[in-house]
């Protein structure tokens, strides 16, 4: 695995890396001979250090894209690179999972048998970067930084789902990653918790300049958080419209009531709605 060496040579917390280029990616699922095209010649460039929001109806194939970047699934053809390094291509369809890109899952994947602290310290210990004691110390620092003081020695099952999601983001960030891949992480949260989580994520983002690849079906969330919003077509998935959100960062919740935010919502709402209707009539399952 190349990632650990890279992390020691390249300085972090600059926006100089974390550029993902998705080039003409096709993904065809072939269950029982009935080929289903999930991703159709999709090209998308995610700039280093930006928050790129991927919006599309449930089941449109956006998670397929994320799985290809993370190295969980193969692509059929095309190429995905991270900072010029080929992750996967037609010749090598499955990327090697690496600690330079870590997924925060929809329903969370903290290890329930480890305390929050041990969860956060997991990555550096696994990569042999730090001793267990050093890793825990670093984890404590990062958790304190993310407002997670007081829950370090609790199990994930003991804290709220919002808290768990935050622990999971810190567990990813401690690996000095280039890209944080978020797969509808706030889907299961109520709207009030969600708004708190959005600001918390931005706060974490401002401190750790990483690239964020964020999948959602919530347009409001997408425009509030993202530098750019890629609205995807429903199965097969490819960019339908790319929106540059010209609201300056740092942002806070007052943005939601601003005139520009409303304008951007109006500009894109129709495109999203159109795809949602298509997905609905195609009978796509939730999830």
């Amino acid at each position: 695995m190349m990632a650990p060496e890279m992390q020691t040579t390249v300085p972090r917390n600059t926006a100089s890396h974390g550029e993902i280029i998705i080039d003409d990616v096709v993904k065809i699922y072939d269950p029982d001979g009935a080929a289903v095209m999930a991703v159709d010649h999709c090209s998308l460039q995610i700039k280093a250090g930006e928050i790129c929001m991927i919006v599309g109806p449930s089941g449109c194939g956006k998670t397929t894209l994320l799985n290809a970047i993370a190295g969980f699934h193969e692509i059929t053809s095309g190429r995905i690179t991270l900072d010029g390094k080929v992750l996967c291509s037609t010749e090598k369809p499955k990327a090697e999972p690496g600690s330079d890109r870590i997924v925060v899952f929809q329903n969370g994947a903290l290890f329930p048998w480890k305390t929050n602290l041990d969860n956060v310290a997991f990555g550096p210990i696994m990569q042999g970067q730090l001793s267990a004691a050093e890793a825990k110390e670093k984890a404590l620092d990062m958790m304190a930084d993310a407002g997670l003081t007081g829950v370090e020695h609790n199990y994930p099952g003991e804290v709220s789902s919002g808290m768990r999601r935050r622990v999971e983001i810190v567990r990813a960030l401690i690996n000095n990653l280039s890209v944080l891949l978020l797969d509808e992480p706030y889907r299961a949260l109520d709207s009030l918790t969600k708004s708190v989580m959005h600001e918390a994520l931005l706060e974490i983002y401002y401190k750790n300049k990483v690239t964020i690849f964020f999948i959602t079906h919530d347009l409001e969330e997408a425009i509030f958080l993202g530098h750019r919003v890629a609205i995807m077509t429903t199965r097969p998935c490819k960019p339908k419209k790319i929106l540059e959100v010209d609201i300056p960062h740092p942002r806070d919740y007052s943005v939601l009531t601003s005139k520009r935010f409303r304008e951007l919502m109006e500009e894109t709402n129709e495109a999203v709605h159109e795809e949602a209707l298509k997905a609905f009539s195609a009978g796509e399952k939730e999830g």
Binding site: M1, A3, P4, A70, G71, F72, P97, G98, S99, R101, I102, V103, F105, N107, A109, F111, P112, W113, K114, F122, G123, M126, Q127, Y155, P156, G157, E158, R171, N175
Partner: protein, 291 residues
């Protein structure tokens, strides 16, 4: 401390105590019915019962069982008897050794079946053929195969526990959420790390459940194994035969109070060992027992 005391005298404890007392009361009344009921005044009922082939001198079934007071009396007679405790000790020893052997073999075997497709393909069909065979059906074969009686009994106990343990381990390991593996892989875990830090803790709850259920079965099996094997290594009366043999021997000797004592002793032994195992299980899976 206060919380602990409160819980001990809480409604759960009271309900348990009341249910036990009511059970004993019904048993006592039923069993003493042969003394209390004046059958001369129920001639018609007596004739009807006789017509059904029942002895009309006491309430059917429960009247034939020794009363709890009688059992208690008999118990006070043998409670100081070394051979009675010897039976406990021997049965306990057999259960523990058979059970531990089942854990030592069953847990790694289950994990192997779960992680290796090849091992599963080779091992599972044989396992599935052997699994439905009741441990009791193994008794004659076990007596023939093993050189000593102690080993044959131990083997039957081992069989009683192992299938449940293996099935639970395989099921538990296979139902671990795929995302845990993906997350661990992303964070740079090696295959061995994944086994040690994901598969093992992820399967632990199922291991605990498998062991709990398996422990119950070992007690079912030890009794039958002892009865059929007839005593154990130290043959000679009731001494050294284990609780199963104690029951059988008491029955043959016509001491029905002792039969009941033996039954209750096994009940208590099984309950205590299950509770111990549960407590141990809670200690190794603290994340499942949160406030």
């Amino acid at each position: 401390m206060a919380a602990g005391t409160k819980r001990f005298f809480g409604s759960k404890t009271w309900r348990g105590a009341i249910s036990l007392v009511v059970f004993l009361l019904i048993w006592e009344i039923g069993s003493l019915s042969k003394i209390w009921i004046k059958w001369e005044s129920f001639e018609w009922l007596r004739q009807m019962l006789t017509a059904f082939g029942l002895k009309p001198i006491y309430l059917p079934w429960i009247g034939a069982v020794p009363a709890p007071t009688e059992v208690l009396m008999a118990w006070t007679h043998i409670i100081g008897d070394a051979s009675y405790w010897q039976s406990w000790y021997i049965s306990l020893l057999r259960v523990i050794s058979g059970f531990i052997a089942a854990m030592i073999v069953g847990i790694p075997f289950g994990l192997l079946l779960a992680v290796s497709r090849t091992a599963y393909g080779i091992g599972f069909p044989v396992f599935e053929v052997l699994r439905p065979i009741p441990p009791l059906a193994w008794v004659p074969a076990s007596i023939i195969f093993w050189p000593t009686q102690e080993l044959s009994i131990g083997f039957v106990i081992f069989l009683g526990a192992i299938f449940t343990i293996v099935i639970n381990v395989v099921g538990g390991a296979r139902s671990i959420d795929l995302r845990y593996f993906q997350a661990a892989r992303s964070m740079g875990s090696s295959q061995w790390d994944i086994f040690r830090r994901i598969i093992l803790p992820g399967t632990l709850p199922s291991i605990v459940v498998g062991c709990e259920v398996g422990m119950g079965i070992t007690w079912n099996v030890v009794v039958a194994a002892e009865m059929i094997s007839g005593g154990g290594s130290q043959v000679g009366g009731t001494s050294g035969g284990g609780l199963g043999f104690f029951i059988w021997n008491s029955y043959v000797g016509g001491s029905y109070e002792q039969v009941v004592i033996g039954m209750i002793s096994i009940g208590i032994a099984g309950y205590v060992s299950s509770e111990l195992l549960r407590a141990l299980g809670k200690r190794v899976t603290p994340w499942l027992h949160l406030r």
